[in-house]
């Protein structure tokens, strides 16, 4: 259980609060009941003591002391009622003490005397050696003979104590049970209330720039969660709009640039071939044409990217051998490498079947190989490898080139990013090649990774999902062209 989840924290708070409240309630109940019961008992006994004082002690004379015992026994029968009665003379002599009760709950002889000079009327709980405690109410009463007698009436506290013990047991067992039940119920409730949050979070994690048209589930509960998911959905709509706007802008802009570029390149082209112009003028027109050509290329690549963004990447989906594609492409580009005395080795012997747009994936291989060759010094080596690993096809292009610094690695797939401003005076490059590679890989549910060490070389790795079965429909052999 995650201790930081709202579910857990809410339940813990709830259980803690409940425990405190129930404990306080039980304590109040317990103490109140105890004082009430003991108070009521003391009152009854005090009344009885007064009765004894009024009816017997008030009339007593020294000679009658012995008779009191008989009268009390016949009137109150303390032994039968498990009661204790003791009458003490002012000098401390006991003139009457009830006998052992029938239940043998206590020994009357062992009850210690009351403290000297007690108040006129009071109650106490008296522990008695060898038996249960006694609740004793005492009354001092003047007698006919002149002295003040102490009349004590008591009863065993055992039944009351037993009841409280029982109550304690019930509370001790019941309370944790109640709290546990309530906590479990609370946990379930909170979980139910928060389930839409899980659903919303799960869906929100799946939303990327490619499925901004999707919406989060809205629990139709009318509560805060509904408001939250509606608010998030509105945010996604605004994001979607912004994203669509920027894509439309790129598409519109590159579209609008086409016509003026057509006129520019067409007119320059016919001028550049006008033999009546001087060679120098034609040369300058050619230079202009080259720049127009670059513009055209950038516009076309931007347009291609905006189409990839729009999800048009997989206009066709065929099954083919990635190893064969790598081998034949490497072969077609061999002269380009040879020209710079770079050795290209291809390590793609076993067929690796993938599914996708053959032309676009070929463009991935072409762009990666072209980069590798471009940024490898003369006499270096470029290796292309294709293999399958797990459920994925892996294509690697490894060079011994100049490498890319770590802080630039994260940016090389950005549009118009150039790792090194000084080396990039290549008329073909617009800083869009790798962005296109990345877009194509993503459109095929693939990934592109790069590792690089400055001065040692780079490794670009494309990961694509393998086609369902491993075998190819027909054996293909590498193209041996050029």
């Amino acid at each position: 259980m995650k201790t930081r989840s709202i579910r857990f924290r809410l339940t813990a708070w709830y259980a803690g609060l409940l425990t405190t409240v129930v404990l306080a309630l039980a304590a109040v109940l317990f103490l109140h009941l105890q004082s009430y019961l003991e108070g009521a008992l003391a009152e009854t006994q005090t009344r009885r003591a007064h009765q004894i004082a009024d009816t017997l002690v008030a009339k007593v004379r020294a000679a009658d002391e012995a008779n009191i015992g008989g009268e009390i026994a016949s009137l109150y029968a303390p032994e039968k009622g498990d009661r204790f009665i003791r009458i003490t003379r002012p000098d401390g002599g006991v003139i009457y003490r009830s006998g052992p009760p029938n239940s043998q709950a206590f020994d009357p002889a062992a009850v210690p005397p009351a403290a000297p000079e007690p108040p006129w009327e009071f109650s106490r709980k008296q522990a008695v050696a060898g038996g249960a405690a006694l609740l004793i109410s005492s009354v001092r009463a003047p007698s006919a003979s002149g002295g003040t007698y102490l009349i004590e009436v008591g009863t065993s506290a055992a039944p009351v104590d037993a009841m409280f013990r029982h109550l304690l047991v019930v509370l001790g067992l019941g309370l944790p049970l109640v709290v546990a039940l309530a906590a479990a119920g609370g946990y379930a409730l909170v979980r139910r209330a928060l389930r839409p949050v899980d659903e919303i979070a799960g869906k929100a994690e799946q939303i990327t720039q490619h499925n901004l048209g999707d919406r989060l589930p809205v629990p139709g509960t009318g509560d805060e969660l509904e408001r939250l998911s509606t608010a998030l959905n509105h945010m996604i709509i605004r994001l979607d709009d912004a994203f669509q706007n920027s894509k439309r802008f790129v598409a519109d802009a590159s579209h609008e640039l086409r016509t003026p570029l057509t006129v520019l390149s067409g007119e320059l082209e016919s001028l550049a071939q006008d033999w009546e112009l001087s060679a120098e003028t034609r040369e300058r027109l050619g230079s202009l044409l080259e720049e127009v050509g670059r513009l055209v290329k950038i516009v076309e690549r931007l347009f291609a990217l905006s189409r990839l963004d729009a999800g048009e990447a997989q206009s066709e989906s065929v099954r083919f051998d990635l190893a064969e594609l790598a081998a034949s492409t490497a072969d077609q580009m061999a002269l380009l490498a040879e020209d710079r005395r770079i050795v290209v080795t291809c390590n793609a012997a076993t067929p690796v079947a993938v599914e996708g747009d053959h032309a676009r994936l070929k463009q991935v291989v072409v762009n990666l190989l072209d980069n590798a060759i471009k940024y490898t010094p003369e006499g270096g080596a470029v290796q292309i490898r294709v293999k399958s690993a797990g459920s994925r096809a892996v294509l690697e292009v490894i060079d011994t080139g100049i490498g890319i610094a770590g802080d630039q690695l994260v940016h090389i797939f950005d549009r118009f990013y150039r790792a090194d401003k000084t080396r990039s005076r290549n008329p073909d490059g617009a800083g869009l090649g790798l962005a296109i590679v990345k877009s194509i890989c993503h459109a095929h549910q693939g990934q592109i990774e790069v590792e690089s060490a400055v001065g040692k070389g780079s490794c670009f790795r494309v990961l694509l999902p393998l086609a369902d079965e491993h075998s190819l429909p027909s054996a293909t052999k590498p193209d041996s062209a050029s």
Binding site: H255, R258, T259, L261, T262, V263, L264, S265, G266, E267, L268, E269, S270, A272, Q273, R282, E283, L285, G286, S287, L288, L289, E290, V292, G293, V296, K297, V299, E300, R301, F303, R307, E312, S315, T329, Q332, M333, L335, L336, D339, A359, R360, K362, Q363, V365, V366, D370, D428, G433, A481, S482
Partner: protein, 226 residues
């Protein structure tokens, strides 16, 4: 040969018509779909070059109407729309070829010629340019009687230049024909192959056949024919 251009961008239509007139074609220009339709069914054209985004009648509609009236006339679409779906739609509606703006004028001319010829270009089994000879059946090349051995790609490049001898071909056109579209943007591959081809075809001989037109591309022609 009479060609109708239906294009609302005046500068584009002027440029195209001037270029085509220089190639000795008769050219008419309509700057909206309705005029285009009126001209197309009044006169007898050998080829129509059609923009898709037109004021008045839409290019697509015009394409369908012309095709219904005349099943034979070649129609070349010239448009800024380059979505695959748009191309497919146009071909289904009866277009014969499709060029997206911006385009190299040289490419337009090559395509117009191919459409008017209605068949593969220069399919003679032997082609001669000066003292260079291509034997298409044997895929062999010789110059001044000496055999020149070429790799398949070098041969394909030379063959493409020879097919359009005397015409400047852009790097983009060469890449598309000799390689495929995946290599687009990689035009230095053309330069490298042309350099290798020159080493074998031109360097050992005093007269040069492969010419560079800066900013435009390459052409193959014998000096005397220029």
């Amino acid at each position: 040969m009479r060609i109708l251009i239906v294009e609302d961008e005046r500068k584009v239509s002027e440029m195209v018509s001037r270029g085509l007139k220089a190639e000795r074609y008769a050219v008419d220009v309509a700057d909206n779909g309705d005029t285009g339709w009126a001209m197309a069914h009044t006169y007898d054209y050998d080829l129509v070059i059609l923009d898709l985004g037109l004021p008045g009648m839409e290019g697509g509609e015009l394409l369908r109407r012309i095709r219904v009236r005349n099943a034979q006339i070649p129609i070349l679409i010239l448009t800024a729309r380059d979505a695959t779906s748009c191309k497919v739609e146009s071909f289904e509606a009866g277009a014969d070829d499709y060029i997206t703006k911006p385009f190299a004028f040289a490419e337009l001319v090559v395509r117009v010629k191919a459409l008017l010829r209605r068949g593969p270009a220069n399919q003679a089994s032997k082609v001669r340019i000066g003292d260079l000879e291509l034997d298409r059946l044997a895929q062999q090349v010789s110059r001044a009687g000496q055999r020149i051995s070429l790799t398949p790609k070098e041969y394909a490049l030379l063959d493409y230049l020879a097919t359009h001898k005397g015409r400047v071909l852009s790097r983009t056109m060469i890449v598309e024909h000799v390689w495929d579209q995946s290599f687009e943007g990689l035009t230095n591959i053309v330069d490298v192959y042309v350099r290798h081809l020159r080493k074998k075809v031109d360097d050992p001989f005093p007269a040069k056949l492969i010419h560079t037109v800066r900013g435009v591309g390459y052409s193959l022609e014998a000096a005397s024919e220029a």
